[in-house]
């Protein structure tokens, strides 16, 4: 009997350690699959990735109820955790159905049923990832992503930026705002460049930085306080050597009078951004204006 028991204990130990070893490998594999693949754009309402992988049973009911065939279940060999739903925005973005059928279908709550307004979905975040590829950054007018965005005018805005190549034009570049981007991927699908899109949806965890809470933005603090916190609030002055001025079109410090058409050589973007003059201060709020005024300082 004792021998039998000893054999039993011995066998059990052997089995346990073999299975334990297997589980260790398995556990490491599970940890690794938790690392978020850049391709894993989840359906609307998906819990944060860690919770999602604990809740989703990989049934595909969300896939079945998506009227646009947007969602797929990850297959063995895909980069996304096996069996979980995701979509590839470049091919088939989420059409942001008002009744969000994918969420309604989910039997586990891996897609959060509290999501009532599709505009609150945060499937990912669009990122203009290839500025060299995006033609807007080259100074061409495009704005296709801006125009297809379902959260129009909010999730993507077009900001202007000086075109330093011509020195006289603006670039109209797309800027994504995490406050409104749902990560639907319509922009990624529509982007006019060949192959991979210049604007891509990425899992929020990969796309969004932690921000810089330890920095105070002077202008914001100023607005909050209603006055400047640094006293006195001195205007910036350029102390240029006599007889010289600054050419913003790229020539830099040059002899006075060499700049031909001062109006067009002004930075157009700064002009656009210039607040309407409301005070009668002799100084313009834009120091460049002062600089470029006839006679200068």
């Amino acid at each position: 009997m004792d021998k039998k028991r000893r054999k039993f204990v011995g066998d059990s130990l052997k089995t346990a350690s073999a299975v334990g070893l297997g589980s260790l490998v398995m556990g490491l594999y599970a940890r690794q699959s938790r690392a978020i693949a850049a391709q894993a754009i989840r359906p609307p309402g998906a819990l944060v990735e860690d919770d999602f992988l604990g809740a989703c049973v990989r049934c595909g009911l969300c896939v079945r109820d998506c009227p646009w065939d947007t969602l797929k279940l990850a297959q063995l060999g895909d980069f996304v955790a096996l069996g979980t739903p995701y979509f590839t925005a470049r091919k088939t973005p989420c059409e942001m159905c008002e009744d969000i059928p994918c969420v309604v279908a989910c039997p586990t709550g891996a897609l959060d049923h509290r999501l009532a307004n599709i505009n609150d979905a945060r499937m990912g975040l669009a990122v203009v990832i290839d500025e060299e590829g995006c033609i807007a950054f080259q100074g061409l007018r495009c704005e296709v992503c801006f125009n297809v965005c379902p959260v129009q005018g909010k999730a993507i805005t077009i900001d202007t930026m000086s075109n330093t190549r011509t020195g006289m034009h603006a670039k109209f570049i797309p800027v994504v705002h995490s406050s409104d981007c749902t990560g639907c991927g319509k922009c990624e699908q529509a982007c006019i460049v060949d192959g991979e899109s210049a604007i891509k949806i990425m899992p929020i965890k990969l796309a969004a930085s932690g921000g810089s809470p330890h920095y105070r933005m002077g202008w914001e603090e100023k607005e909050k306080a209603g006055k400047s916190l640094v006293a006195p609030d001195a205007e910036h002055k350029y102390n240029l050597p006599e007889g010289l001025e600054y050419d913003h079109a790229g020539k830099g410090l040059i002899k006075k009078g060499l700049i031909k058409n001062k109006e067009t050589l002004n930075d157009p973007v700064n002009k656009l951004r210039q607040p309407k003059k409301s005070n009668s201060s002799p100084f313009s709020s834009n120091p460049l204006d002062t600089l470029n005024q006839k006679g200068g300082l």
Partner: protein, 307 residues
């Protein structure tokens, strides 16, 4: 015919002679039909829905919706989800309850022999082994599966994810057939090789935690195989040779003298009914039993005591 002359014949030959091929394969055929129908329904439902807007069944074994109303959820995957620290919503819990109740009544491992697609693979491997008269191989302790089951739950707890679902061949293959296989074919081949080369019935009999979970679920099931005419047994061993869980047959079949009743009590019996098929003497049949009665000397089946 004397029992011993049959040894060496392939199992089931005798039954085919006695009952005809169809009757000697009755439960096997029904089982395959069941397995293929269930998988098939999942596969063709989207097509039918496209034409008629009627969804017969949607999803896969992990969770599904029958006729857009009845939710079904695999209780094993839901329990892993619980261990991973998530509380599923009501639909999921209700679905798991319905499925659990079903298997609780008709036998947990009915899942194995009537639903699971891997069973077809392991059955073929075992059949090939018997055709080629392959013997032996590396034995793996049959209790390993309980450890595996335990560790899948532990892993869910530690990783906070349903870790087992990353490699579970059962769901991988079933889901693959419906939603796209990817490289899951490789897993089918791996299990086939394991069962064909390493040793008989290794995967389902020693490792798979899915079958193990369902065996625990069906411990008190009402539907069981009964060796109701065990006195007719001529020791041909055919039932033993075809049974995927051979150890379950011995006591009920030969234990009359020791006072054991004739129901195959073990929850590892998959209710596949293959023993019924291959027995030329019609020793076995499906029967219902009063649950919660253990096969102990105290709960004797009096009829068999008298024999």
């Amino acid at each position: 015919m004397v029992a011993n002359t049959k040894i060496g014949l392939l199992p089931g030959k005798e039954a085919i002679q006695a009952k005809g091929w169809l009757k000697a394969h009755k439960w096997l055929i029904l089982r395959r039909l069941s397995q293929i129908t269930i998988l098939g329904l999942f596969i063709i439902s989207p097509w039918i829905a496209k034409e008629t807007e009627i969804w017969l069944i949607k999803g896969n074994l992990a969770s599904s919706l029958v006729l857009d109303i009845l939710p079904l959820t695999d209780p094993y995957v839901l329990i892993q989800s619980l261990f991973a620290g998530t509380i599923p919503i009501f639909t999921g819990i209700l679905g798991a309850f319905i499925v659990a109740l079903f298997y609780f009544l008709i036998g947990g491992r009915v899942y194995c022999s009537w639903v699971c697609p891997i069973n077809i693979v392991t059955d073929i491997a075992a059949w090939l082994r018997s055709q080629l008269k392959l013997k032996g191989g590396t034995q793996i302790n049959k209790n390993t599966r309980f450890w595996v089951l335990g560790f899948t739950l532990l892993l869910a707890l530690i990783t906070g994810t349903i870790a087992w679902e990353l490699i579970n061949p059962v769901s991988m293959v079933f889901r693959g057939a419906i939603f796209g296989m990817g490289l899951a074919w490789g897993v089918i081949i791996a299990i086939f090789i394991l069962d064909f080369i390493v040793s008989r019935r290794v995967w389902c009999g020693s490792i798979c935690p899915v079958g193990t979970f369902y065996s625990l679920l069906g411990k008190q099931s009402i539907l069981r195989v009964n060796a109701h005419q065990r006195e007719q047994c001529d020791d041909c061993m055919d039932c033993f040779l075809v049974c995927p869980e051979q150890q379950v047959i011995k006591t009920p079949l030969n234990g009359a003298s020791k006072g054991f009743h004739s129901f195959i009590d073990s929850s590892q019996c998959t209710n596949c009914g293959r023993c019924i098929d291959v027995c030329a003497e019609d020793v076995f049949r499906f029967e219902t039993r009063i649950p919660f009665k253990k096969n102990t000397i105290q709960n004797l089946d009096n009829k068999h005591l008298e024999n």
